[in-house]
Symmetry: C2
Subunit: 306 residues, 2 copies
């Protein structure tokens, strides 16, 4: 999903009218639009993602996979904060008459994902939609402490938890069978496992080309990426642009001190991942792909300040 001026306008406007002032009760942290999930308190974070028919999916995606993906993308956001997803609430807006087969399949896929990650669905709201199907899931996570994007230090290794470019390959090549990629499996739990190891972390839902500059900007650092170190999904056939430029990835991007290399590898092993050390954090600002220019078109999405 590229940023667009409309989206920025909406976020800015909502935030501008949001009351300031001290929070009440257990709530503690202000919204940080830069993080994957909002920190409610030291031990709770929360995220929400909406998916709209015709925007986030079309007929190529089976309704079971829509349900799965709705859970996966939110769970990935919690994972990226160092949290474990615990409970969710759902909204579903559907045109009438309701397509009952769709509801059945969507619910089955969502239920399978909730079951996979032991997430409780505790509430929801259904309504009629005179337009497309819209589904939205709010997910809460528990954690020992949040891991933000802003802790990367110069000299840190830059890690990616798994292969990139699979979703991009499916999008770019209609002849590829999308089914192996239709049920993304973010390494839920790995984020929490990296507490004390990772200095800064986020998921790659917008792709490395857009997300790495965000992590660097939040941390006040730069990065140099080694192209040949990038883990590229077999479907992307070695195409670096697909691996960094598209997104819809659910792997983690994180930085950690070089002295933690063996800890990183052993932490990830329990989640079936072999992370790739793709570069290094630099004191000098700016993100560089060593040895070749970063494709200019990718930069057009995010400008220099994210």
């Amino acid at each position: 999903m590229p940023d667009d001026p409309d989206e920025s306008f909406i976020v800015d406007t909502v935030l501008r009218h949001r009351p300031e002032g001290a929070p009440r009760g257990p709530t503690s942290a202000p919204m940080n639009p830069g993080d994957d999930a909002a920190v409610v308190s030291n031990d709770q974070c929360v995220t929400v993602d909406a998916m709209v028919e015709g925007v986030h999916w079309d007929d190529r995606l089976h309704p079971e996979d829509v349900g799965w993906k709705l859970v996966a993308c939110n769970a990935s956001d919690i994972n990226a904060m160092g949290g474990i997803p615990t409970w969710g609430v759902l909204t579903v807006a559907l045109p009438r008459p309701v397509d009952r087969d769709w509801v059945e399949a969507f619910s089955r896929g969502m239920g399978a994902a909730l079951d996979t990650w032991s997430i409780q669905l505790i509430g929801g709201d259904t309504t009629r939609s005179p337009g497309p199907k819209v589904v939205s899931l709010t997910l809460s996570g528990s954690m020992a402490a949040p891991i933000g994007r802003d802790g990367a230090n110069p000299g840190d290794d830059l890690w990616v938890s798994g292969p990139l470019g699979g979703p991009a390959a499916v999008f770019a090549s209609p002849e590829i069978d999308p089914s192996p990629l239709a049920r993304p499996k973010p390494p839920i739990g790995l984020g929490a496992r990296l507490l004390g190891i990772a200095n800064a972390m986020m998921d790659l839902s917008d792709g490395l080309a857009r997300d790495l500059p965000r992590l660097c900007a939040a941390s006040g650092v730069g990065a140099v990426v080694t192209p040949e170190a990038l883990p590229i999904h077999p479907s992307a056939k070695g195409d670096t642009a697909l691996a960094v430029g598209f997104g819809e990835e659910y792997e983690l991007l994180f930085s950690a001190s070089p002295e933690h290399r063996s800890l990183v590898l052993s932490a990830a092993e329990a989640f079936g991942r072999t992370p790739s050390r793709v570069g290094v954090i630099t004191a000098e600002r700016g993100v560089h792909l060593a040895g070749m220019p970063w494709p200019a078109t990718l930069f057009s999405h995010f400008g220099g300040d994210q």
Copy 2:
């Protein structure tokens, strides 16, 4: 909003595919589709409401009031559980190009409501909609203990916290100026104040005719309502059907022991409310409007088992 078979089908299907099993982390309570908000733990509840253009509002409602109402209806659900709303996360799906004046006004109204009840907006998601505008707010509340619908005892007084029928009058009579009713002000805080006083509680978002039978069914009791005791909003001009049959009310319906009458009145006084004692809870099942038949058409919405 009347129940409809489609809505029941969606809820039943989602719940059927929802994994069972023990919750993890601080989550404790299963979803109770009968309550206004889901109980996360002894001290947290959560609710979500979506509003869709053309379904929940039309051009008669100013976008500022859409923003206000989105907060008010969710805050009312938290209030009805005995909670105080603390934080929320928002989703906004809007057609492109974005109507910036609408976003500005919506955000202003939402911000005013958040400010009124000291609610923090801590996160959100924006997306494109190829159809109508869709907004959804998840709201979390803190509480000392939840007040459900299932604790009413035979002999309890039945109370309504304020006048009913205003929204119905606006809906039924296009000539009425809707502006005085466009910014509902649920008695946020009164719900929490009634802990230890009210035995069962809910808000009247679907109207007394549908909501009282739900409270009675959850508690395994019946009720007899005294028509002349019903507090009717001036706009409804004494029309009982408008007062009980429409909903979109944000007043509380609750039962309490007769020995707590003075406590009820003094608790409500702090919130500018003079509650009305509208009837009594009975051991015998069934809901009756003493002295006159309950309009049959109203019953058709909810059947005998809710």
